[in-house]
């Protein structure tokens, strides 16, 4: 990602962001609200369009070409703050709709794969329920499984635990930690500093559309270089 900028009207959300992430790397992006961190990862899979600079995913340029966008999206999985499961489909159908419709997989194979990932997120017994019958934490784990069914190489997480009750945050984080241990490339926007410390290879602090600091967790938490990082950590870790 090179000198990427984006404006919402006259407001510049991303200010010439340059960032490189290696395969297998786990990056946590944090920062105050309005700092552009969500917009950053939403630009990576074209839910938002960047207006300046270039984004490359696996060497493919993200531009107006529908073919490129499809190629990039097929290697990306996305998990949203509000889960965005399809409420009219059962859990199992939520997981199989992508593989059958987009990848033209046979229904039986897709269901097998879906059950495999449901077992991984430890809710195979909920397969035939509807999303709204599940707790928030379960819904988010279904959402993670739904992305994994598309066999992505990179997973994007946009504040995956912000809409959850405290006791449910842990089950989702545990799932994400397992995923990280399996070697998945992950970009996670979150305020969960504990998660950042244990899992991340790199932690990034964003503020006002800029990357303020990028460092390994030890360095980031115990020896931050920037004043801005220190005040942010003070605020967030005080409680």
């Amino acid at each position: 990602m090179n000198a990427v900028s984006k404006w919402y009207g006259a407001f510049k959300v991303l200010n010439e962001i340059s960032l490189e992430i290696q395969k297998g790397e786990r990056v946590v992006v944090c920062g105050p609200s309005g700092s552009g961190k969500s917009t950053l990862i939403r630009c990576i899979n074209r839910l938002e369009e960047h207006q300046k600079g270039d984004i490359y995913v696996k060497g493919i340029e993200l531009n107006d070409s529908v073919k490129n966008i499809a190629a990039i999206r097929s290697s990306l999985g996305m998990v949203f703050q509000s889960f965005n499961l399809f409420p009219h489909l059962t859990v199992l159908e939520n997981l199989t709709i992508g593989p059958t419709l987009v990848r033209h997989m046979k229904r039986k194979d897709a269901e097998e794969r879906a059950m495999h990932f449901l077992r991984k997120v430890r809710i195979p017994e909920q397969a035939h329920k509807y999303p709204l019958q599940l707790s928030g934490g379960q819904q988010q784990r279904v959402a993670i499984a739904r992305s994994l069914c598309m066999e992505p190489e990179i997973m994007l997480f946009d504040e995956p635990t912000s809409a959850l009750d405290p006791e449910m945050i842990k089950e989702v984080l545990d799932t994400m930690i397992e995923l990280a241990e399996s070697g998945m490339t992950m970009i996670v926007v979150t305020h969960e500093m504990g998660f950042a410390r244990t899992v991340a290879d790199n932690v990034i602090l964003m503020a006002d559309g800029n990357i303020v600091e990028r460092a390994e967790p030890e360095e980031f938490f115990f020896n931050p270089k920037h004043e801005r990082t220190r005040t942010f950590l003070d605020q967030i870790l005080k409680h």
């Binding site: 899979n45 999206r73 990306l76 965005n84 399809f86 009219h88 709709i97």
Partner: protein, 366 residues
């Protein structure tokens, strides 16, 4: 203090309120002097009206009479007029000795529709052959000209079968058009959006009668000489398009209720526009606007009676024509009540079914 009481009696049950019919009556009808007076006045009016209706419709009514003079002497309702005239009312100008074909047509139609509305039958492998078979059978019965059945041109069709054909045709053609218009109005392409807006707004702004008049009298002028599109088909399509414009706006409301996250989730799974629309957005949007859609479907059923102005004999027009008979003419109220009952049966069936579907949606059965 209240808190301490609750703590002392953790298993306390709510007090049982006195109940019973007298208490209920007192609460709802006689709770104050004003309300008591109102209750008495309304009850008096209601009883008098019901008494009159009972006499007119049942006690003094004539049920069977070949001679209208019997009705005139009786003073009550003359239901005999329906016994006497039900065939031209229900079947219009269709040849009298061929009416059995129409009865069979209505039976096939009702069976097909009831089967189509039953969730157990919602399989493509069943519905498509069933509809092809029914439509073919109905066409053979209505037109004739094969299998030894005399040919009957559409200009002689009438009554309930015509109402059914107009209504079903306009809903079957109209719903897909409505969905396309609603999608078009929210499409990313400005051309599609513009066309949909112009189409919807211009047709919605015009009375149905005008559209029917144009379809029947003006549209043929634009066709090349010798080419002819069946009048019944033209009219069905006109009602369908009119219905579609209203329905499109209802569906648009449903589309707007779908959160953006649904589109984003589908996009992140790499689904195309049509895949997203067909599998994610429309199923949810149509569920949301089901009550309002039912509303317009029932309105469409009654809109079929507008064909009176272009000389088709639907059930209402047929009744008007039948009641020109000078012998029976004065009993038009009874005849129209009968037609109202037919509409009411269809309308009630539709709204009861729609309510059933809503409850299925609520429990996630469909």
């Amino acid at each position: 203090m209240a808190t301490s009481e609750i703590l002392e009696h953790p298993a306390e049950l709510p007090p049982v309120l006195a109940s019973g019919p007298w208490r209920w009556m007192r609460r709802h009808f006689f709770s104050s002097i004003g309300q008591t007076l109102l209750t008495i006045v309304v009850a008096a009016i209601a009883i008098r009206t019901l008494w009159f209706l009972l006499h007119w419709a049942v006690l003094d009514a004539v049920w069977v009479a070949a001679d209208p003079q019997v009705c005139r002497d009786a003073g009550g309702a003359c239901w005999a007029v329906i016994v006497e005239k039900h065939r031209p009312i229900l079947f219009g100008m269709y040849p009298y000795d061929q009416h059995w074909r129409l009865v069979l047509m209505i039976v096939i139609y009702l069976a097909t529709v009831i089967a189509s509305l039953t969730p157990a039958c919602w399989k493509r492998s069943l519905l498509i052959p069933m509809w092809i078979a029914s439509v073919t059978a109905i066409a053979v019965l209505m037109f004739g000209g094969v299998l030894g059945l005399p040919y009957v041109p559409t200009s002689e069709w009438g009554g309930l079968p015509l109402t059914i054909i107009l209504f079903t045709g306009s809903v079957l053609f109209g719903m897909p058009i409505a969905v396309l218009l609603a999608l078009g109005r929210r499409a990313p392409l400005p051309v599609a959006r513009g066309l949909s807006v112009v189409f919807i707004e211009s047709l919605r702004g015009v009375p149905l009668i005008t559209i029917l008049f144009v379809a029947v009298n003006i549209f043929p002028l634009f066709l090349p000489a010798g080419m002819e599109v069946n009048k019944l088909l033209r009219i069905t399509l006109s009602i369908a398009v009119f219905f579609a414009c209203y329905q499109a706006e209802v569906i648009r409301g449903g589309l707007q209720a779908i959160p953006r996250g649904q589109y984003e989730a589908a996009a992140s799974l790499n689904m195309t526009y049509w895949q997203t629309t067909r599998r994610i957005i429309l199923p949810q949007a149509l569920r949301i606007c089901l009550p309002a859609m039912t509303n317009h479907i029932i309105a469409a059923m009654k809109n079929t009676s507008f064909v009176i102005i272009i000389g088709l004999f639907d059930i209402l027009t047929a009744t008007t024509a039948v009641m020109q008979d000078p012998l029976w003419r004065q009993f038009y109220i009874e005849a129209y009540l009968f037609v109202a009952l037919v509409y009411l049966v269809f309308g009630l069936a539709l709204s009861m079914y729609a309510r059933r579907v809503e409850s299925w949606v609520a429990v996630g059965r469909i």
